[in-house]
Symmetry: C2
Subunit: 394 residues, 2 copies
């Protein structure tokens, strides 16, 4: 008798976005036609840049001609893209071999797949508040989760603790949902901690392109010792607007070895067994992101979003409300004013100001009392939302 | 201390395609400039059809405009594509709800990912000769493999046996490498066997578009009882030349339940946790395959390949060599003439006729004495290869 993976029954239902949509629906039924200022979305809103569009069209044309047609791609990624990404790292002072770079369909896909490299008896450390999939993917595998709560005291950037040791450590920096970014000294603590305990860090760098402070690490491989304890998972979703186009990349250094097994070799074997690579067309589009002109164009979009973030943080500064994020991240994580709980603030913002955000409680218990705004909306909506928040709490 | 998934160390190295490439390399070094007739490739050679190219360009244009831009797609697939595929099944008499159809990045990706739904204590039945990834993906998960050897006696289409019961059953029809296709009576035996034992069939239908005999099942869901025991995994790779463009789909009927868990619900939860869906651009391209004009155009390519297969099987018929496949499949699986071993035949074909094929031994021990030709090459090469085979063994 076939037995399903019973760990699926242990997953908790996630009501966060469902509850938000239900509350919005009820409000709009009572107030038909009202415009809402949606500052909650985690998706980008600006189209792909010209260089990427040009490359995508070119690649589609390649697939139309007998001489230029591409069949099966190398499972680890097209050499042209792996080399381009390795050079991109080199330009920022991180030396990688191109076969330490693997092309993926995106960070969320990779965060799910990569767990196959680890024994199911491993434990996984999640710094909360956190992206819910970190926990869920490990629950599905039957792994023990170690929760490390963050808070205002440490700016939502906790140090490692001997009371919270685990075999796999998730670090997301710039962080979703808090927008907080580890500096080099803080990240070195985590790298040393992982090396000491033999842990492996899964470093989620999906938002690295939003870092403008040059002293902050964009890659964990800027930190000495990371090559023996870390895997870095990157995405073009927020960097270049690829949320619906899908492309990411992962760095697995050859120095990452446990019990005599090299994770880079294991991942080659995983990919050649379990995929036939990422679409040629999308890989060509992705490569355009790393050209000089592509870089210039995607930075325009990132600046657009970051100006949105500044409009929000300027409003919070004016109101004297504590927050993290915004400066080097697309998310702003604020303390709820007047001691409100996060769902209370949600209701007030929706009904009094028609502004929609994301209650911090949805990212874990220690997110209670906090609230996330995203900068991915339109300029007009962001300006108006900021005005309304100021009017409400000023 | 992090422990890797030690099952990776149990994987056997696959030397099949490596050995082939080494032998070719050595031959070309000794005979520089020689043209080889490559009848071994499992990849398509003809470009994407016009309708698909048009849809891909249109979707790229969508991603360039603020009003038409698509961000995150539904994780289970775009509704337009799920509905299109459900209608395609309906047109062939198989009734499905559109949320029983999941869009994937391709069959190989899905065959790897879907195993997450099963307990690791399950056993997996593989009919040999077989696509090596069936075994490898289960070795990585630590599952016990039950091998069921096929042979000439049963036309490489074995019946289920009480001596080879397993929790997961792989069936590939039309088969890679043998090209053999189960008829409805034979497939019904497997469905009944699975229902009796509570097994789940993973039905790999990657080559269904090559079936021209209308009495043969293109989908396992043409068989009564399959909705309670089967998952069907499909691909546009060979159907529409998507090997490098990447798109597939999977059918998980809502009636498939074990120990109170519904696999369809579990897969929704898996996808929403472990992916952010398939590229909007590629899904638009895929939808064009199911339009009337798209269908007409892809059938032109399939007929091209099948005419290649006919050229090969006509030659074998003339020589009186026993084979399976070719008629309803892109592969021709022949018995090696004169009692040759499959690698001996490889060497003779390469050195005496400059024809490259795939030794059956590479697909499992019971493939010894057999040899695979593919029909995915060019017409000119196929004609000349057939002539050379006739001259060699005539």
């Amino acid at each position: 008798m076939n037995k399903p993976n019973m760990h699926y029954a242990e997953l908790k239902d996630s009501y966060l976005f469902y509850n938000i949509s239900q509350k919005i629906k009820a409000y709009l039924e009572q107030n038909p036609g009202t415009h809402l200022y949606r500052m909650g979305i985690g998706d980008v809103s600006r189209p792909l840049c010209e260089e990427v569009i040009k490359a995508l069209h070119g690649a589609v044309d390649d697939q139309a001609g007998a001489e230029t047609f591409h069949g099966y791609m190398p499972e680890q990624g097209a050499p042209f893209l792996r080399e381009t990404i390795a050079k991109h790292y080199a330009s920022r002072g991180v030396k990688l071999e191109s076969d330490e770079v693997f092309v993926s369909s995106g960070a969320s896909d990779e965060l799910g797949d990569i767990l196959d490299l680890f024994d199911r008896e491993n434990s996984a450390l999640v710094i909360e508040p956190a992206y819910p999939a970190y926990v869920d993917a490990n629950v599905i595998a039957g792994r023990k989760i170690v929760h490390l709560p963050a808070g205002r005291k440490n700016g939502f950037l906790p140090s490692p603790s001997e009371d919270a040791v685990a075999d796999i450590i998730y670090i997301c920096s710039p962080n979703n949902p808090t927008g907080a970014v580890f500096n080099k000294v803080q990240l070195k603590e985590w790298v040393d901690f992982a090396n000491k305990n033999g842990s492996v860090i899964l470093f989620d760098a999906a938002y690295e392109a939003f870092i403008e402070d040059d002293t902050l690490p964009r890659s964990i491989f800027e930190i000495e010792g990371a090559r023996t304890c870390a895997i870095e998972i990157c995405s073009l979703s927020k960097t270049a607007g690829f949320t619906g186009t899908r492309l990411g990349y992962t760095v697995i250094p050859k120095d990452l070895v446990r019990e005599g097994l090299r994770f880079n070799d294991m991942w080659v074997r995983n990919r050649t067994t379990k995929t036939n690579g990422v679409s040629y067309i999308i890989q060509r589009g992705g490569a355009a992101v790393f050209t000089d002109e592509g870089r210039r164009q995607i930075m325009e979009n990132i600046r657009y979003y970051k100006n949105n973030a500044k409009i929000l943080t300027d409003a919070l500064d004016e109101l004297g409300i504590w927050y993290t994020g915004g400066k080097n991240a697309p998310y702003v994580w604020m303390e709820c004013p007047k001691g409100l709980k996060s769902w209370e603030l949600f209701d007030i913002l929706l009904t009094k100001a028609q502004v929609v955000g994301t209650p911090g409680e949805g990212f874990g218990a220690c997110g209670e009392g906090y609230f996330r705004f995203s900068s991915f909306g339109s300029r007009e909506d962001t300006v108006e939302a900021a005005e309304r928040i100021k009017k409400l709490f000023g």
